[in-house]
Amino acid sequence: MAVLATEIRSSAPRWLIRHETLLAAILAVALAILCVFNENFLTIDNLLNQGRLMTEVGLLALPMTFIIITGGIDLSVGSIVGLCAIILGYSWKNLGFPLPLAVVFAVGVGGVAGFVNGLMITRVRVPPLIMTIATLALYRGLAEGISQARSVRNYPEWFFFLGQGEWLGVPMQLWILLAGIVAAGIVLDRTTFGRTLYAIGHNETAARFSGLPVDRTKLIIYTLSGLAAGVSAWVLVSRVTTTRSDMGTGYELDVIAAVVLGGTSIFGGVGTIWGTVIGLVMIQLLKNGLALTGVKGDATIIVIGAVLIASTLIASSLHGRREVAS
């Protein structure tokens, strides 16, 4: 029998590849159809521009993938973006920080916000969803309180380079996102850190009993999430040239949608960065393509919703990993 057992083997890597190729296929088909309908769609210009618009959410999706792989979730990212944006403007305008310092400070605050989530989740063992639902409200509240409903404007021209400038014809912030993607991707499937994430997601106790630094790892990923939110806020402010306390509202759902669409299992243990990237691109280009083809915003979200369910359905029909996992 042990011989026979050869056939049942970890379908994990294979399955994931299958899932992503499948997604990629769906994506390709969708794009093909869309560009038949609209010549402006498949132009370098438009695609790069979409990349620009995708960056804020994209940056958040990377650590979110880590977090969801460990079986956790972070609903507070949107609020942290708002908080960091405000901190950026406030520390520059009201505390008189030099702008670069203000940026660093804002990103730092983002890190702290994420760290606090992580701390409560690891030390007090508050379930991630509950903790981050609470901080979703709290951090947004702080943003409103600190800003006193004031938007900070009139940033110097150079500050907008990140959000509006280009380098080698590619939007500045897209470089950051690309770097992030590559880094995250490598970390996730090549390093011990990445392996630890999967182990935690599948069986936290066993991971702990194997001497893996479970709590530290979690602390790190939630902090990363906060930092990413900080950077994302920086990019956003630089793109829209002003800070408002309501920035980033509702990002959490966009991010989660992209991640789960990318095949990351909300139950933990399964997922890749490449999947997330495809998920991101898919949502962004669907929205854009449909809009260009004359589909209105409301109809577009219907399609997005349907695609989310449908593609997860197809993907899940392709694997039986969950059964073994339980």
């Binding site: 029998m1 026979l4 057992a5 050869t6 970890s10 069986n203 066993a206 702990r208 996992a325």
Partner: protein, 518 residues
């Protein structure tokens, strides 16, 4: 061979067999778990199922209790053919099952766990909580269990007590056929004897019983007949009276097993682990002990005596509140398993599925889990090295798996245990703590693991072995420590560690009402 089995029944006389399965086939993706298995259970008979890990015992009983559907074959109850599409069908047909995996609701009370699915009702179909509590009390009394109350949340119970809850649940259905899949795996001798009394009582009431165990002695104490499976095939059925343990082992393993406890004396070295007044409430109350290089120290005790807690405290999973731990004479602070690992401490936990393995991960991934540092450079995993490490482990411990890419969750118990062991040895520890190392493992694998322990000891490893199986403790240890209610109750040299002496020390003076008042 199988007709030998049915022949026995004919002699047994007129009454149709309570249960008769024949020609059962079961395939899992890539595995033929059962091929043409047939056997019968008469009313009032205890019928043992024997076989190596992965032989297909659990699969067979899961088919009988409606969890799986057979791919071929028939099931008859009282001569009537039945098709069980769900566990509920089987229950209605009077079949109750204690599954091998503890399947409980952590957040619910003992009473509710026992009666989930068949709770006593009031008029209008509303649940009757009072009756539920009362009937649970009654069951507890019938098993003479004093340290459980119907109201306890199961999540707060010890492994041993959880096992008891499983038993209560099966009994609560007052079934005509009771199936027990390794019910004693998590029990100590004391619980086992109480369970046996109960089984005999049921037997006398004409209840048929299918009993799975890897403990040969239990089978000879309890069973009337025994059916042996090997690699999913029905090897034969024997009357216990007419067979010998040697024959059964021969039938299930296909070879002789020279000795189950191949203990050899090796030179004992310097102390590796010294523990002084270790305290971690509620269960570790000031423990002092020493384990030397090359020494195997057995730790005996009743369920709930706090042995695992002690182990887990030394291992840093539940850091000590006070007291001192010395590794190789150096006083150390162990606040996490990671720290323990760094100090060369390895812990093979008693709960294989929950604490030992990441079941959805592959053999390769599990092997390297405790020693990722060794196969990684600057945090980057060298998958070739990792594969090599796993291959080496698989060969060294004779793990029966198709490849190192096999998902661990699908290996049978024994092989899973070897992987937990191997994963830790890959880290070349100084001190090895084994918590119930052979719980639920077949004689073949057991002998192998014991041989391994001896080899390791010979190589100068210090071993602390927790076991609820007295013969194992006595057979493998250089010294035997006995824990009772969180304290060390006694210590025996190998020579004067007799079953009676150790047993008495486990029970303590008060004897009967053993176990921690939970």
């Amino acid at each position: 061979m199988s007709d030998a089995g049915s022949a026995v029944v004919q002699e047994d006389g007129a009454t149709p067999p309570l249960l008769a399965v024949s020609g059962i086939e079961k395939f899992f993706p890539g595995v033929r778990a059962l091929s043409n298995v047939s056997f019968e259970v008469a009313p009032g008979e205890v019928h043992a199922l024997l076989g190596e890990n992965g032989a297909g015992k659990s699969t067979l009983i899961k088919i009988i209790s409606g969890v799986y559907q057979p791919d071929a074959g028939t099931i008859n109850v009282d001569g009537q053919p039945f098709r069980f599409l769900s566990p509920d069908d089987a229950r209605r047909a009077g079949i109750a099952t204690i599954y091998q995996e503890l399947l409980l609701f952590r957040d619910l009370s003992v009473a509710e766990n026992v009666f989930m699915g068949h709770a006593p009702r009031r008029r209008g179909g509303w649940l009757d909580w009072k009756a539920m509590a009362a009937r649970t009390e009654a069951l507890l009394a019938s098993l003479e269990i004093t340290d459980l109350t119907p109201g306890r949340i199961v999540g707060s119970l010890s492994v041993g007590n959880r096992q008891r809850v499983e038993i209560l649940r099966a009994l609560s259905q007052d079934a005509r056929l009771l199936i027990m899949d390794e019910p004693t795996a998590a029990l100590t001798e004391y619980d086992v004897t109480r369970l046996f009394d109960l089984v005999r009582r049921l037997k006398s009431r004409g209840v048929g019983i299918i009993y799975i165990s890897h403990r040969m002695d239990e089978i000879f104490q309890l069973a009337d007949r025994v059916t042996v499976l090997r690699d999913g095939a029905h090897v034969g059925t024997r009357k216990v009276a007419e067979t010998s343990s040697a024959e059964l082992v021969q039938m299930m393993v296909g070879r002789q097993i020279e000795s189950l406890f191949p203990k050899v004396d090796v030179p004992i070295g310097a102390p590796v682990l010294e523990v002084r007044d270790l305290v971690r409430r509620p269960l570790t109350k000031g423990i002092s002990l020493t384990v030397r290089a090359g020494e195997i120290v057995g730790l005996a005790g009743l369920v709930g005596s706090g042995r695992s807690e002690l182990a887990q405290t030394i291992f840093g999973a539940t850091p000590a509140e006070s007291g001192q731990i010395l590794i190789s004479g150096r006083s150390v602070e162990i606040r996490s398993p990671a720290a323990a690992r760094a100090l060369g401490i390895a812990y093979v936990p008693e709960d294989r599925a929950m604490q030992g393995l990441v079941r959805p991960m592959t053999v390769r991934e599990n092997f390297s889990l405790a020693s990722l540092g060794r196969v990684a450079r600057f945090g980057f995993i060298d998958s070739a090295a990792e594969a090599r490490m796993a291959e080496a482990g698989v060969n060294r411990f004779r793990v029966r798996t198709g490849s190192v890419e096999q998902v661990v969750g699908r290996l049978s118990g024994g092989n899973q245990q070897k992987i937990v062991l191997g994963k830790w040895l890959a880290n070349e520890p100084k001190l090895l703590i084994l918590d119930e190392p052979t719980r639920g493992i077949d004689v073949g694998a057991k002998a192998e693991i014991h041989r391994l322990m001896c080899q390791l000891a010979a190589q100068g490893l210090a071993i602390l072995m927790i076991s609820s199986e007295l013969p194992e403790v006595l057979g493998m240890s250089d010294r035997v420590l006995v824990m009772r209610e969180g304290r060390l109750a006694a210590e025996f040299a190998r020579a004067d560690a007799t079953p009676e002496a150790v047993g008495a020390a486990m029970m303590g003076s008060q004897g009967a009402d053993a176990g921690r008042a939970a």
